[in-house]
Protein backbone atom coordinates (compact mmCIF):
# COMPACT_ATOMS: atom_id res chain seq x y z
CA UNK A 1 0.00 0.00 0.00
CA UNK A 2 0.99 3.64 -0.32
CA UNK A 3 3.49 5.16 2.10
CA UNK A 4 1.15 8.06 2.73
CA UNK A 5 -2.53 7.38 3.21
CA UNK A 6 -5.06 10.15 3.61
CA UNK A 7 -8.19 9.98 5.68
CA UNK A 8 -11.02 10.55 5.01
CA UNK A 9 -11.22 9.78 1.30
CA UNK A 10 -13.92 12.42 0.90
CA UNK A 11 -15.09 15.32 3.04
CA UNK A 12 -18.02 17.65 2.46
CA UNK A 13 -18.49 20.77 4.59
CA UNK A 14 -20.20 24.16 4.54
CA UNK A 15 -18.39 27.37 3.77
CA UNK A 16 -16.93 28.88 6.94
CA UNK A 17 -16.38 25.53 8.65
CA UNK A 18 -12.97 24.04 9.33
CA UNK A 19 -11.72 21.04 7.37
CA UNK A 20 -9.31 18.50 8.82
CA UNK A 21 -7.54 15.87 6.77
CA UNK A 22 -5.20 13.23 8.11
CA UNK A 23 -2.24 11.39 6.68
CA UNK A 24 -0.56 8.26 8.02
CA UNK A 25 2.69 6.77 6.83
CA UNK A 26 4.73 3.68 7.55
CA UNK A 27 8.47 4.37 7.48
CA UNK A 28 10.63 7.12 8.88
CA UNK A 29 10.69 10.36 6.93
CA UNK A 30 12.80 13.46 6.46
CA UNK A 31 9.81 15.66 5.72
CA UNK A 32 6.15 15.56 4.82
CA UNK A 33 4.51 17.79 2.25
CA UNK A 34 0.91 18.66 1.47
CA UNK A 35 -0.32 19.40 -2.03
CA UNK A 36 -3.59 20.52 -3.52
CA UNK A 37 -5.06 19.54 -6.89
CA UNK A 38 -7.95 21.25 -8.57
CA UNK A 39 -10.00 19.04 -10.87
CA UNK A 40 -8.14 18.19 -14.07
CA UNK A 41 -5.04 20.18 -13.13
CA UNK A 42 -1.59 19.54 -11.74
CA UNK A 43 -0.68 19.54 -8.04
CA UNK A 44 0.28 22.71 -6.21
CA UNK A 45 2.59 22.62 -3.21
CA UNK A 46 1.00 23.99 -0.02
CA UNK A 47 3.35 23.39 2.87
CA UNK A 48 6.37 21.33 3.95
CA UNK A 49 7.00 20.22 7.51
CA UNK A 50 10.31 18.71 8.52
CA UNK A 51 10.65 15.70 10.79
CA UNK A 52 11.98 17.84 13.65
CA UNK A 53 8.98 20.20 13.49
CA UNK A 54 5.64 19.60 15.19
CA UNK A 55 3.46 22.33 13.77
CA UNK A 56 3.54 24.80 10.93
CA UNK A 57 1.21 27.55 9.75
CA UNK A 58 0.65 29.20 6.41
CA UNK A 59 -2.29 31.58 6.14
CA UNK A 60 -5.45 29.53 6.84
CA UNK A 61 -3.48 26.27 6.80
CA UNK A 62 -2.15 24.52 9.86
CA UNK A 63 -0.14 21.32 9.60
CA UNK A 64 0.88 19.10 12.48
CA UNK A 65 3.29 16.20 12.48
CA UNK A 66 3.51 13.43 15.06
CA UNK A 67 6.48 11.25 14.18
CA UNK A 68 5.81 8.87 17.09
CA UNK A 69 2.39 8.07 15.57
CA UNK A 70 3.63 8.46 12.00
CA UNK A 71 0.81 10.81 11.20
CA UNK A 72 0.12 14.34 10.04
CA UNK A 73 -2.96 16.49 9.80
CA UNK A 74 -3.88 19.42 7.58
CA UNK A 75 -6.39 21.91 8.96
CA UNK A 76 -8.00 24.50 6.71
CA UNK A 77 -9.78 27.14 8.77
CA UNK A 78 -12.75 29.22 7.64
CA UNK A 79 -13.09 27.23 4.44
CA UNK A 80 -14.25 28.78 1.17
CA UNK A 81 -15.89 27.29 -1.90
CA UNK A 82 -12.59 27.90 -3.72
CA UNK A 83 -10.90 25.41 -1.35
CA UNK A 84 -12.79 22.60 -3.10
CA UNK A 85 -10.04 20.30 -4.41
CA UNK A 86 -8.17 17.09 -3.69
CA UNK A 87 -5.49 17.26 -1.03
CA UNK A 88 -2.49 14.95 -1.00
CA UNK A 89 0.22 14.25 1.50
CA UNK A 90 3.63 13.24 0.22
CA UNK A 91 6.48 11.71 2.14
CA UNK A 92 10.02 10.93 1.30
CA UNK A 93 11.21 7.53 2.39
CA UNK A 94 13.96 8.74 4.68
CA UNK A 95 16.55 7.56 2.18
CA UNK A 96 18.66 10.41 0.95
CA UNK A 97 20.50 10.04 -2.31
CA UNK A 98 23.43 12.36 -2.92
CA UNK A 99 22.45 12.93 -6.53
CA UNK A 100 18.78 13.62 -6.27
CA UNK A 101 17.70 14.07 -2.69
CA UNK A 102 14.74 12.06 -1.56
CA UNK A 103 11.93 10.64 -3.66
CA UNK A 104 8.39 11.57 -2.72
CA UNK A 105 5.57 9.07 -2.35
CA UNK A 106 2.02 10.35 -2.60
CA UNK A 107 -1.13 9.11 -0.97
CA UNK A 108 -4.43 8.74 -2.79
CA UNK A 109 -5.77 12.06 -1.57
CA UNK A 110 -8.79 13.47 0.24
CA UNK A 111 -11.48 15.03 -1.94
CA UNK A 112 -12.72 18.14 -0.13
CA UNK A 113 -15.99 19.77 -1.18
CA UNK A 114 -16.90 23.11 0.35
CA UNK A 115 -20.53 23.99 -0.23
CA UNK A 116 -21.47 27.68 -0.54
Amino acid sequence: SQQGEEDPQALSIQEGENATMNCSYKTSINNLQWYRQNSGRGLVHLILIRSNEREKHSGRLRVTLDTSKKSSSLLITASRAADTASYFCATDRGIYQETSGSRLTFGEGTQLTVNP
Binding site: I29, N31, G42, L43, R50, N52, D92, S100, R103, L104
Partner: protein, 118 residues
Amino acid sequence: DVKVTQSSRYLVKRTGEKVFLECVQDMDHENMFWYRQDPGLGLRLIYFSYDVKMKEKGDIPEGYSVSREKKERFSLILESASTNQTSMYLCASSFVAAAKVGGNSPLHFGNGTRLTVT
Protein backbone atom coordinates in the same frame (compact mmCIF):
# COMPACT_ATOMS: atom_id res chain seq x y z
CA ASP B 1 6.77 31.75 -10.62
CA VAL B 2 8.07 28.41 -11.74
CA LYS B 3 6.42 27.21 -14.88
CA VAL B 4 6.25 23.57 -15.87
CA THR B 5 4.65 23.14 -19.26
CA GLN B 6 3.37 19.89 -20.69
CA SER B 7 2.95 19.96 -24.44
CA SER B 8 -0.52 18.43 -24.64
CA ARG B 9 -3.54 18.55 -22.33
CA TYR B 10 -5.34 15.71 -24.09
CA LEU B 11 -3.98 13.00 -26.34
CA VAL B 12 -5.65 10.04 -28.03
CA LYS B 13 -3.44 7.32 -29.47
CA ARG B 14 -3.91 3.85 -30.87
CA THR B 15 -2.54 0.64 -29.38
CA GLY B 16 0.99 -0.02 -30.59
CA GLU B 17 1.80 3.61 -31.44
CA LYS B 18 4.94 5.25 -30.13
CA VAL B 19 3.95 8.18 -27.92
CA PHE B 20 6.04 11.14 -26.79
CA LEU B 21 5.00 13.29 -23.85
CA GLU B 22 7.04 16.47 -23.51
CA CYS B 23 7.70 18.59 -20.45
CA VAL B 24 9.62 21.85 -20.15
CA GLN B 25 10.51 23.83 -17.01
CA ASP B 26 11.87 27.35 -16.88
CA MET B 27 13.52 27.51 -13.45
CA ASP B 28 16.79 25.68 -14.03
CA HIS B 29 15.71 22.82 -11.74
CA GLU B 30 18.04 19.84 -11.58
CA ASN B 31 15.33 17.26 -10.87
CA MET B 32 12.50 16.33 -13.18
CA PHE B 33 9.88 13.64 -12.66
CA TRP B 34 7.14 11.77 -14.50
CA TYR B 35 4.17 10.46 -12.53
CA ARG B 36 0.97 8.82 -13.61
CA GLN B 37 -2.26 9.33 -11.70
CA ASP B 38 -5.08 6.78 -11.66
CA PRO B 39 -8.26 6.62 -9.57
CA GLY B 40 -7.72 4.57 -6.44
CA LEU B 41 -3.97 4.37 -6.99
CA GLY B 42 -2.89 7.96 -6.44
CA LEU B 43 0.31 9.23 -8.02
CA ARG B 44 2.95 6.71 -8.95
CA LEU B 45 6.48 7.62 -10.00
CA ILE B 46 7.49 6.32 -13.42
CA TYR B 47 10.97 7.82 -13.92
CA PHE B 48 12.97 10.74 -12.70
CA SER B 49 16.11 12.55 -13.76
CA TYR B 50 18.55 14.48 -11.58
CA ASP B 51 20.75 15.85 -14.35
CA VAL B 52 21.08 16.02 -18.11
CA LYS B 53 21.32 12.53 -19.60
CA MET B 54 20.82 10.97 -16.16
CA LYS B 55 17.74 8.96 -15.27
CA GLU B 56 16.51 6.60 -12.60
CA LYS B 57 13.60 4.21 -12.56
CA GLY B 58 10.69 4.97 -10.34
CA ASP B 59 8.11 2.52 -9.05
CA ILE B 60 6.46 1.60 -12.37
CA PRO B 61 8.97 2.04 -15.23
CA GLU B 62 7.81 -0.94 -17.30
CA GLY B 63 6.62 0.06 -20.74
CA TYR B 64 8.16 3.53 -20.50
CA SER B 65 11.45 5.20 -21.26
CA VAL B 66 12.65 8.79 -20.82
CA SER B 67 15.03 11.24 -22.40
CA ARG B 68 16.74 14.29 -20.94
CA GLU B 69 19.03 15.89 -23.52
CA LYS B 70 18.67 19.42 -22.12
CA LYS B 71 18.26 20.52 -18.53
CA GLU B 72 14.90 22.16 -19.11
CA ARG B 73 13.26 19.32 -21.06
CA PHE B 74 12.21 15.84 -19.93
CA SER B 75 10.40 13.50 -22.30
CA LEU B 76 8.39 10.41 -21.49
CA ILE B 77 8.21 7.80 -24.22
CA LEU B 78 5.73 4.98 -24.57
CA GLU B 79 7.49 2.66 -27.00
CA SER B 80 4.32 0.75 -27.89
CA ALA B 81 1.23 2.20 -26.27
CA SER B 82 -1.22 -0.18 -24.61
CA THR B 83 -4.71 0.40 -23.25
CA ASN B 84 -3.48 -0.01 -19.66
CA GLN B 85 -1.37 3.10 -20.17
CA THR B 86 -4.50 5.21 -20.43
CA SER B 87 -3.99 7.66 -17.58
CA MET B 88 -3.25 11.22 -16.47
CA TYR B 89 0.48 11.90 -16.78
CA LEU B 90 2.02 14.57 -14.59
CA CYS B 91 5.46 16.10 -15.00
CA ALA B 92 7.19 17.84 -12.09
CA SER B 93 10.50 19.52 -11.32
CA SER B 94 12.45 20.57 -8.23
CA PHE B 95 15.82 21.70 -6.97
CA VAL B 96 18.15 19.12 -5.51
CA ALA B 97 17.85 19.23 -1.74
CA ALA B 98 20.36 21.63 -0.24
CA ALA B 99 20.91 19.64 2.91
CA LYS B 100 20.60 16.05 3.98
CA VAL B 101 18.42 16.95 6.95
CA GLY B 102 15.12 18.21 5.66
CA GLY B 103 15.07 16.24 2.44
CA ASN B 104 13.39 17.37 -0.71
CA SER B 105 12.44 20.78 -1.91
CA PRO B 106 8.83 21.07 -3.14
CA LEU B 107 7.77 19.71 -6.51
CA HIS B 108 6.35 22.03 -9.16
CA PHE B 109 3.85 20.28 -11.39
CA GLY B 110 2.59 20.84 -14.89
CA ASN B 111 -1.13 20.70 -15.63
CA GLY B 112 -1.00 17.13 -16.82
CA THR B 113 -1.61 15.24 -20.05
CA ARG B 114 -4.66 13.01 -20.18
CA LEU B 115 -3.71 10.17 -22.48
CA THR B 116 -6.25 7.76 -23.90
CA VAL B 117 -5.03 4.67 -25.72
CA THR B 118 -7.68 2.95 -27.82
